[in-house]
Point group: C2
Chain length 198, copies 2
């Protein structure tokens, strides 16, 4: 892990719960990249090639390359950012799969990369409820992995289709909420790193 202190750069890995090319949650992640506070970079990690978790290949010889790459990216990041759609009142399998892999020890043993990694979550939906149930499940899943999650603000983007202009989410209110979320993520990351480095 980097050892950023306040005012130092923060490197965030962004995970999007939808594989669809035109995903609204991908657009939300791109909005986050635009409104991130100074010094924060958000790198989108693509989950397309990550196979479904299977205990039989979860060992130092057989672990798939995509899982190793995901582990490495999160291990090297200061913080995580999830953009989740809501499928069937919960997180998509795509996102749960990433977490299932990230909750496993690193190659050669050691702490799972998601363990104690400062994290923020947000979500966008075409409907009226803005992924509220998916985010509730996601928070309880991230309690299992000892992952500190920014509490406020809730970023629940509803009716997202109506906010898209020329291929991007163009909405001041959403930009404000996401910016505040990321400022709080920076704060959580600095506090966390001070405690770990103390």
């Amino acid at each position: 892990m980097n050892s950023a202190t306040q005012n130092e750069a923060i490197h965030v890995v962004g995970l999007v719960g939808s594989l669809r090319r035109g995903s609204y949650n991908r657009l939300l992640m791109e909005l986050a990249q635009r409104v991130a506070p100074e010094g924060m970079t958000i790198e989108l990690f693509d989950l397309d090639d990550l196979p479904l978790y299977n205990g039989d290949i979860d060992n130092d010889n057989d672990r798939p390359q995509a899982a190793i790459a995901l582990h490495r990216a999160v291990e090297q990041a200061d913080a995580l950012l999830f953009a989740t759609p809501e499928y069937n009142h919960s997180v998509p399998a795509v996102l749960k799969n990433a977490i299932d892999w990230l909750s496993r020890p690193q190659r050669g043993g050691g702490t799972p990369p998601i363990w104690a990694k400062p994290t923020a979550i947000m979500g966008a939906a075409t409907g009226m409820w803005g992924t509220i149930r998916a985010q509730k499940h996601l928070r309880s899943i991230l309690a299992a992995t000892n992952t500190p999650v920014v509490m406020k603000p809730d970023v629940l983007v509803r009716n997202v289709k109506s906010l898209v202009v020329e291929g991007r989410i163009d909405d001041e209110s959403t930009e404000g909420f996401v910016h505040e979320l990321l400022e709080n993520l920076a704060e959580l990351t600095w506090r966390h790193q001070r405690e770990y480095n103390a």
Copy 2:
């Protein structure tokens, strides 16, 4: 859907949330096959080849063969049975992925196969809590898909490792709970089909 009435055969599709060959939940599914009530058959549907859900390939031209086969199997079944491990306080991505696919309309349109399909859930864990949190999430997910789920008994198999003898779960108490669960699944299926055929 078949139109079984009481005392007619019930065909159940069984889905296991772990891909691991030696999975305890697979053993639990095999136990269910052994103790199923007379006239009930449980066919294990293998989820190994089911790709992660992706809206871009979820159409009549691009839907993967494994998703089409899963749709067909569940459509033709009278009922569903889930055996779920607990990963990170929730259902494994493997099971959520099956549900994400099954919650989509059938090829050519029409009702999703999981819609209104009578279902029972059970789970086994090596730890002390017997998948209780995964099952809680699973029930709330299945509320989204309008899937009626057997209420009782809870089949929460804990310390499952200690129950395995010669490659099978050998435990009278577990057999009794699973048998009761399946009797209630048969009851729910008959009642459901009477109502739908009335």
